[in-house]
Amino acid sequence: MAAVSLKVNGKSVTADVDPRTLLVQLLRENLRLTGTHVGCDTSQCGACVVLVNGKAVKSCTVLALQLEGADVLSIEGLAPADGPLHPMQEAFRENHGLQCGYCTPGMILTAVDMVRRKGHNLDDKTIREELEGNICRCTGYHNIVKAIAAGARAMQAGGAAKAAE
């Protein structure tokens, strides 16, 4: 067992973990933040995406011990507990960008990161290429792409964009 100290959703956390523990296990099992999901074992599906120091990372592919001092944002931290939803979350609901919801946290955080890297005016081709690392079996991606384009525009208009920074 070894100790790691980091920030998760703005709160300082210290955990004693088996060195094999992945970040996604730290979140789900140690911290009981079960919004981040495991969908595969080869890093393709993207259901586990979180933001680490502001950048999208697949939490199944990083060891908890690598994150000493890091700032991790999971889906639970995207919007304040008693506050309004993040515009990207609203966009997914408004545009029916989810069905079973399992890939959704990873999709939303990937989308937030996409806006950071590619800006607020995302076209169809860009969004689809940027979703290479996120698999959905329910939606055919059609409404996910619509949601991300709408969420990106809404993030520019203001809203809770600060929560993602």
């Binding site: 074992d41 080869t42 979350q89 069905q99 079973c100 919801g101 946290p105 290429e129 329910c138 409404n143």
Partner: protein, 789 residues
């Protein structure tokens, strides 16, 4: 239509928890003191188990118990149950091999469960599993379904000679052969419908729990049908009496059929919970999902179509070899028979159809229902035959289809089903317009100038869903009825709970079912809660699959609402001191006809429970009614999908440049949700057609066992889709709903392959039509490649 009623694109009530990470999927649940299970699986496709040595493993830190097939056999815990007995052409029942939940003497496919290690942590269970020594004596394996039926093939189950599950047939062979003998033209095609894995993004999981104080069990499971799981686990697997077993299916991350079946893992978890005296939790790793979640499709088919001189179809004959894998599974036997052959008429008036299906065991994963279940396979056969027949006889594919459409209803096909209502020309016309079919020739020329090959492909499909009339399926071999149930509980304060036997795993029932209630009772949609997925709360339901929750589940809800309204009117009559026959109910108000005396819904609900204003002996207090709805027929969604592709001859890559879908689903509750179902279904079928393939090598090693090797379609493989609808109401249920969940997957593969073959000028191409497959086909084709103008 109100903003929250039937037909409205209401945003989903369930979304809040999913977009904030507060869903409750099975792996999110943790029970105090839980232990973790890890299954040891056979690395061999076919072998006898000589010994299992667990001594070293048992001594490792944290190990609570290790169980093997011997333990399950001694405890008489069965597995591999199929709920549909297909009768072969010899009049005998199919050869469904019984077996325990863990393999005992033999393993029959790579992934077959051999033992389970239960420990304090998952890591400890996995570490201990590595120390379990299983000694196998290898047997030759048979993977190819044609080889499996040969007399010299390795015998997989003692009860099934020639590894044959059944030889089945449907139709009048003599009359069909006569039609072919007299035909002016015969089209022949050989098709492999490629094996796929379901790949729901949430892996399966289970938590079994036993309470010794009350001698009762609780199972949390990723199930599309918790009541069926409970019935199978109690009555067939032998785990616990039904009244001592609670099954909870919480939020489910996609099913597509794979979570219908009752597998070894949940059976063992619930049984082991009592043995170890702690909850036992198991979650599949994706590589396990690939190995053991029931696979889909895997047909080898030879099909022929007979035409007369005027281009009318006079007959169809089909021979299919269906690979059913190593063990029985819940719907296993009916997928390549009653969910397949019954759809071979397609949208066409075909006087004679004959279909023979030979189903075999092989040393591969069991094959069962995956989205569409038999109907994608049927549509692929029909629409490929149609396309090839049109091309071979120089006929326009649209005109040829139209000339053969069924136009009068009801229409009795030669393959059992009688289509009740439809207008195939209407969906075809609308699709042609939406797809700008007229402009295709120009788009093709423009593409050629850019060095690309454009093609267009149709799929005018029909399906049978809304499973299903109980007596009808019973007569065909089903062990269960396929009705559905709903109970409407009105609370004294006027809010409503619906206890539904249906179970949503992405279909949005918490919204659509609530829309139906809000529409009927005139109450806000926020005051309607949908309860599902818990056998302690909902008495019984058959679950969600086969595009049935709208047609069957919502019909049960409507019947329950009918009863609620009838009783509420009785209460209102007392409150308004009028005759029951004079009470009208509209927009949430009960009124006396011809007067302005009224009482709102809330007043009636409260008074039903306070029971002061009527004689409780003449009229029972309370307002709660349930209904079981048994359909009188399948429903028959149908439509036209048009796929337009551009193939790059340099790379063989296929880009789907346009997709048009016009479907007739009858009445639609929430068009936004229905369109989402079409998007997802189409994507699923495109995946099968372009990139997905589940492959075993000749030794039965599963080569495509991870998402690195099995190509799931990504966002950039899929097009923007144009979705339209036409409506012919379903005549066999109260609202006229046909259902929509599988249609996209049923229609799409044929459209894709018809488009690609049109683009590259070949007669056929196998699925998946990967870039390398298309490139190779192009080299062999005699089509001259386009060059810049």
């Amino acid at each position: 239509m109100s903003a929250t009623g039937i037909g409205a694109a209401v945003r989903r009530k369930e979304d809040h928890r999913f977009i904030t990470g507060k869903g409750h999927y099975t792996d999110d649940i943790n029970r105090p003191g839980q232990a973790y299970a890890y299954f040891i699986r056979s690395p061999h496709a076919h072998a006898t188990i000589k010994s299992i040595d667990t001594k070293a493993a048992s001594r490792l830190s944290g190990v609570a118990a290790i169980f093997t097939g011997a333990d399950l056999t001694a405890a008489k815990i069965s597995g591999h149950i199929c709920g549909w007995t297909v009768t072969g052409s010899d009049g005998k029942p199919m050869k469904a091999a019984p077996g325990p939940a863990l393999a005992h003497d033999k393993v029959r496919y790579v992934g077959d469960e051999v033992a389970v290690v239960i420990a304090d942590t998952y890591a400890q269970a996995k570490d201990a599993a590595e120390k379990v020594v299983v000694e196998y004596a290898l047997l030759p394996a048979v993977i190819d379904p044609k080889a499996a039926a040969k007399p010299d093939a390795p015998q997989i189950h003692d009860i099934a000679p020639n590894n044959t599950v059944y030889n089945w047939q449907l139709g009048d062979k003599a009359a069909t052969d006569a039609a072919f003998a007299a035909a002016a033209h015969v089209t022949k095609v050989d098709i492999v419908n490629n094996r796929v894995v379901p790949a729901a993004i949430e892996p399966r999981a289970a938590i079994g729990e036993y309470d010794s104080g009350s001698d009762s069990f609780t199972l949390y499971t990723t199930s599309q049908n918790p009541h069926l799981a409970r019935l199978v686990l109690s009555a067939f697997a032998g785990v616990a009496p039904e009244n001592k077993l609670r099954v909870i299916a919480p939020d489910i991350g996609g099913g597509f059929g794979s979570k219908i079946f009752i597998y070894a893992e949940e059976t063992v978890c619930i049984w082991a919970a009592k043995k170890v005296g702690r909850p036992v939790k198991w979650t599949a790793e994706r590589s396990e999902s690939f190995l053991v979640d029931a696979h889909g499709r895997d047909h080898i088919t030879h099909a022929e179509l007979a035409l007369d001189a005027s281009g009318k179809i006079t007959g169809m004959r089909v021979h299919t070899i269906a690979n059913l894998g190593a063990y029985p599974s819940a719907f296993w036997s009916c997928v390549p028979t009653y969910l397949y052959a019954l759809l071979l008429s397609g949208q066409y008036n075909i006087p004679q159809i004959y279909c023979a299906v030979d189903a075999v065991y092989t040393n591969t994963a069991p094959v069962d229902a995956v989205r569409g279940a038999g109907r994608p396979e049927a549509t692929f056969v029909v629409e490929r035959l149609i396309e090839l027949a049109a091309r071979a006889t120089g006929r326009d594919p649209v005109a040829f289809r139209r000339a053969n459409f069924i136009t009068s209803f009801p229409h009795q096909t030669p393959v059992i089903v009688c289509y009740d209502a439809g207008d195939y020309g209407a969906s075809l016309d609308k699709a042609l317009a939406l797809a700008d079919y007229k402009g295709f020739a120009k788009r093709k020329r423009d593409a050629a100038r850019n060095g690309k090959l454009r093609g267009i492909g149709f799929s005018t499909y029909i399906e049978a869903c809304g499973l299903a009339p109980s007596a009808a399926v019973g007569s065909l071999g089903a062990a269960i009825g396929l009705w559905e149930s709903a109970e409407v509980r009105v609370n004294p304060t006027g809010s409503v709970e619906v206890l539904a036997g249906s179970h949503s795993h992405g279909q949005g029932h918490e919204t659509t079912f609530a829309q139906v209630v809000a529409d009927r009772l005139g109450i806000p949609i926020e005051s309607v809660s949908i309860v599902h997925g818990d056998t302690d709360k909902v008495q019984f339901g058959m679950g969600t699959y086969g595009s049935r929750s709208g047609a069957v589940g919502i019909s049960a809800l409507v019947k329950a609402l009918d009863k609620v309204e009838a009783k509420a009117k009785k209460v209102a009559a007392h409150l308004l001191e009028a005759a029951e026959a004079d009470i009208e109910f509209k927009d949430g108000k009960f009124s006396v006809a011809g007067t302005d005396k009224s009482v709102p819904w809330g007043g009636v609900a409260l008074n039903a429970y306070i029971a002061h204003k009527f004689n409780g002996q003449e009229l029972e207090p309370g307002l709660k009614e349930g209904a079981f709805w048994d359909p009188t027929n399948f429903t028959f969604p149908a439509g036209c999908h048009i796929c337009e592709v551009e193939v790059d001859p340099e790379t063989g890559n296929t880009e789907i440049v346009a997709w048009t879908a016009v479907d007739d689903f009858g009445v639609v509750i929430n068009p936004m949700i229905v369109e989402g179902q079409v998007h997802g279904g189409v994507a699923h079928g495109i995946g099968q057609a372009l990139c997905e393939s589940a492959i075993y090598n000749k030794d039965g090693q599963f080569l495509t066992g991870s998402l690195m090797d099995y190509c799931m379609p990504r966002a950039d493989n899929l097009p923007v889709m144009k979705i339209g609808m036409t409506v012919t109401k379903c005549p066999s249920n109260p609202l006229g709903i046909k259902g929509c969940g599988e249609a996209g997957a049923i229609a799409s593969p044929a459209a894709v392959i018809n488009a690609i073959t049109d683009a590259i000028g070949t007669e056929a191409i196998a699925m998946p039509a990967t870039p390398s497959a298309v490139w190779v086909a192009l080299q062999k084709s005699d089509r001259s490649l386009p060059h810049a103008a």
